[in-house]
């Protein structure tokens, strides 16, 4: 009885080990199962999903106009102070004084891509871009000003 149990254990053990080796052996012999995407080589074809959140950007149209009114809704919505909006008073053509953004400061180093600012924006001025290659040698380069120099508010956006 003891011997039967003893050899039964050995038989079962060896069988289980061979079953395990069959799995790895299968993948070793079936190289088409390889799932690797070669990242820097596939940059041309690598496309992120539309909703992927890489960084906050402010789209500008051809006339160098953006949609940000400087209402600071995003700044309030941001849980970790990533966005700082600096506003200025601008005299329009009809002589009225209006609040306009001077600098839309965005700290990429603080941003957690939580999307709350984009949701909060009433005029769809900021969107999430899909790029992710942000590596830098210097931390200071991660502080960005999103509005381009000399950009203006788009007509009709209030």
């Amino acid at each position: 009885m003891f011997l039967k149990e003893y050899f039964g254990t050995i038989y079962k053990s060896i069988k289980s080990l061979l079953v395990g080796m069959k799995v790895t052996g299968y993948y070793f012999t079936h190289l088409d199962e390889i799932k690797t995407e070669e990242y820097p080589d596939n940059r041309a074809t690598l496309k992120m999903f539309d909703r992927f959140r890489g960084e906050v950007v402010m789209p500008h149209d051809d006339n160098n106009e953006h949609r940000c009114t400087g209402c600071q809704a995003c700044e309030i919505a941001c849980p970790n102070g990533t966005i700082k909006i600096i506003t200025k008073q601008e005299i329009l053509e009809d002589g009225k004084k209006k609040k306009r953004i001077d600098a839309f400061v965005y700290h990429l180093d603080l941003c957690t891509m939580c999307n709350l600012c984009v949701v909060a924006c009433p005029s769809d001025a900021i969107v999430m871009a899909q790029n992710f290659e942000h590596s830098v040698y210097d931390k200071k380069q991660l502080k960005k000003i999103l509005n381009q120099p000399d950009s203006k508010l788009m007509q009709g956006v209030e």
Binding site: D41, L46, N80, L108, L110
Partner: protein
Amino acid sequence: MEINKSMEGPLTFPGQVHETADGGILVTKLDDVINWARSNSLWPLVFGTSCCAIEMMSAAGAKHDWSRFGFEVARATPRQADLIIVAGTIVMKMAPVLKRLYDQMPEPKYVIAMGACTISGGPFFYNTYSVVKGVDHVIPVDVYIPGCPPRPEALLHSMITLQEKIKNEQYFKKKIEDVR
């Protein structure tokens, strides 16, 4: 290596002086060989504190597979590691440990700050009392990747960026200049 060059390179390192080769061709060639070896054999330390560690594991996984670059030899002991990827928040209590780990690594050693928490404290920059506001307060950082957490591809990008940096190092030339 061609691919690395064809990558849209990162912004040039500020303060890096690109000297002309006055140390002789031999020295430059030796430097090239050393930098080639060092940049292609970055063994990371198994070091992860939070979310970014999972993306670091994803980068090791089959889909992204950092072993293509030769990074897969993750060492558990700092003595054999070349690179410390600070993946996750460093809090005040962890900072001395991180410092000690960094000190235990033999030269040359490199640091990648992965994710918002390690760059600047990230989501824990305001309103918390316990988080180190940027791991560069504790150890010198070579490459920063923002993101919370960054994609595995972003981590690979940062490691390629680090390779670029290592390729510009001048080991022998510096030695010769020290002697002079």
